[in-house]
Symmetry: C2
Subunit: 520 residues, 2 copies
Amino acid sequence: MSEKHNIFTKNAVGRFIPKTINYEKIIPFQGLGKYKPEGNKFSPKIPTNIDYDSNGDKKVNSLKEALIKSGLKDGMTISTHHHFRNGDLIANKVFDIAKELNIKNLRWFPSASFPCHEHLIPYLEDGTINRIEGSMNGILGRFCSEGKMKGTAVLRSHGGRYQAIQDGDVKIDIAVIGASCADNFGNANGVNGKSASGLLGFALGDSQYADKVIVVSDNFVPFPCVPWQIQGNYVDYTVEMKKIGIPEKIISGTTKITKSPDRLLLAEMTADFCDATGIIKDGFSFQAGAGGTALSVAVFFAEKMRKKNIKARFARAGSNKYLVEMLEEGLVEYILDGQTFDLEGIRSMQENSNHVWTSPFTSYNYHSKGNFASFVDVVILGATEVDLNFNANVVTHSNGYLLHGIGGWQNCLFSKTVILPIPLFRDRIPVIRDEVTTICGPGELIDVIVTERGIAINPHRKDLIEKAKKSNLQIKSIKELKEEAEKICGKPEAIKYGEEIIAAIKWVDGTVIDVVKKVI
Amino acid sequence: MSEKHNIFTKNAVGRFIPKTINYEKIIPFQGLGKYKPEGNKFSPKIPTNIDYDSNGDKKVNSLKEALIKSGLKDGMTISTHHHFRNGDLIANKVFDIAKELNIKNLRWFPSASFPCHEHLIPYLEDGTINRIEGSMNGILGRFCSEGKMKGTAVLRSHGGRYQAIQDGDVKIDIAVIGASCADNFGNANGVNGKSASGLLGFALGDSQYADKVIVVSDNFVPFPCVPWQIQGNYVDYTVEMKKIGIPEKIISGTTKITKSPDRLLLAEMTADFCDATGIIKDGFSFQAGAGGTALSVAVFFAEKMRKKNIKARFARAGSNKYLVEMLEEGLVEYILDGQTFDLEGIRSMQENSNHVWTSPFTSYNYHSKGNFASFVDVVILGATEVDLNFNANVVTHSNGYLLHGIGGWQNCLFSKTVILPIPLFRDRIPVIRDEVTTICGPGELIDVIVTERGIAINPHRKDLIEKAKKSNLQIKSIKELKEEAEKICGKPEAIKYGEEIIAAIKWVDGTVIDVVKKVI
């Protein structure tokens, strides 16, 4: 029987938020920088060496044995991470075992899910899994949007996920950490071995705070497994599996920049904007993802930097061959890498101590004494929709379906300048709306929208508006851009929703910024 | 007024332990692997980015300002670390400021103290500092032994210190972390800069669990300070000081092996023993400190390894030029370094990713899911005294004075074979006793005593006894060795103690293994 949501509060971005989600009290978003946490970090039980083999051998025969020894039972929270991306074989295996053991009502707490996890649909249907708290891409999102998941999904940013673990909002019973290299003690990394993905930062919080921690690898080395991105001192069991992932789906051989002229235009306009407004300067920093457009932005940045004979102090990444080239050419002093997208990224991380692996703790956790996302001069992000107040959506499409995760998107909004290069419409559906389907980020944090028909600057960024005036950039108001799109595509029709809430969208501080309703 | 200790329990090694130390209930040592902690790790307050500058600038003008902003007040616990060894200028400065502000009754919680901290004696006298919980070498130890410290000292091993912080046995109010390299955000390391000491592992727990964390450096770099051995996300304030340490006292230019023929003999006998008993074999691991004898042991090991054409999987260090040579020659695959003793150690750590910096968490914490000290095949340690049951002392001299810290000594006892190369007597005082002055480590963990007149093997190590039989090693019983010494030096007289307890010696699990009494 699903939860009734009948007491609602309007939160600081005007969205109606229920009193509980999954029968737990939630806090509505209170505005930027308003909610201050009280209380203390989650405190795991104190372990003792007495309970662990003095030779450091924590190896058990199978993942099943490890899960049973970890006390797998109904209602538990099981975490996995997404470093294997669409090549992950572990999460599916975990729930195959749960099903086999007739365990019910699990909460799956992945750092992200991928199309390969479609495999879990039957378990969501039969109640093995109650709900997913994590991103829901593609088919899982559709399933959730149609109201078929028993519990309510909860989506968090990468930083918000660390925050939730650290603060005890989510208590992980069993963390299963897949690693491309490990030793029997549980020291592990993602940088060596055939299933290498670069690093294991997304699993850090899980290792530190979960009650039981299982490390699974297809590549065991004698102690010490170095670097120990995951420290065996947090690990309970280690498991050897023949195959933990499909390498070509874990990581691409090489990342390629977009060939789409539309996207290239957006990328070039973005780089021109950064140049004209003085953002590209000696010692600056930037973050550009591995999406086609963002990738191209970095390439345009590199060109401009060469011309100006300047270098960036650091690039925050999603690393790839283009960024690695910039590092090796000396255009970038450091890559602070959150996840590695291609083989060149992995090689560079193996070889170059200026290619630094990070975690959501160092980069994104809002409940710490600062994090470095806010030091980044400029970040280039995507969005599915933006509204007239620059509020943006990154999880649902305009048809109401929940099809994407938040990733680091919310965390990156704290960068000094946030630019969204987006087409004015997609499939003849305008991207700039009166209201976005789902608010994932408040407009106060979004500075610039770059479209193929002009650039809109958030009115609160008077400094950028002034600088842009002196350029030949095509600056328009966001309202003008919206009207242009509607002239071409017509005003979009409203979507029909059911009343049922199928997902909650958390803000970086653990409050709820929006909810997603069932599509009917 | 000092604490009355009048209710005593006999602990598992036969020592009488009071009910409280510094008015806090303590747990007597219960035997090896007997005491299991209950409860949860210490949970620090949840911070929020809201309270920290979004540019990551945490710089304040002076250490005084940082201490005031951290809320320094009477009765607080202030931690510092000892990476600057006898060249440290920070701890003294902290208490100069406390004195200036008329703060009283502080608990100083250093990871170790050095002769340079003699400067603090007046503050111990006038009550600025109530007590030291940490090692007390030389003059501070004498001061403490004479009953002049207001509170009771508590000595912990490096691992025990991490355990105490993690478990909340010691709640640190303000941690002051000196670093040879830092950025404004508080990322810091000990590997770069003129005050480099290699790493900051001893300050890791302090950064993770202290209420307020201050990073002090004489070498600020723009973000990011990499490697971030201390993560700025844990740091509240950063302070630039012109001079944080005296480089030549922080680290020696080069470490030199002993020229003493007596010590060289002990070192050679130790290496011969390891060879004859099969401990030196391909893929083995060892730990030898930077003391004269231990250093020489490593050099003898190297010779034997070259002859056998084998290599060690790892050396646990205290790194120095000899170990670095072994790493670079390929005799050792990894150095797992806890502290760096010379410039070659620092260079190697900067250059070689197989020279790994560790912390008391990964290496020594007994309240974790294992630690790697127990994987080490053989460890060479010192001792001031050993008794007939192989119980050993490392903190007091036979005259009763508390003159040394525990360091990693207790933690290293968990190695697979523990060897103490010690002279049979020092200054005509026999080292093997009926009873040691202070028990720091239970005899069950100590396997071999190497003296210039023969080697004693703990009877429980039947395997080693068997192997040694086949060698030409001069094996004796520990009783025989004791009697030989007494024949030469006479039976030592008993020392006279007062009743007052001046220090408690913690075991790695937080229980009290012994106490030290005032010398009269």
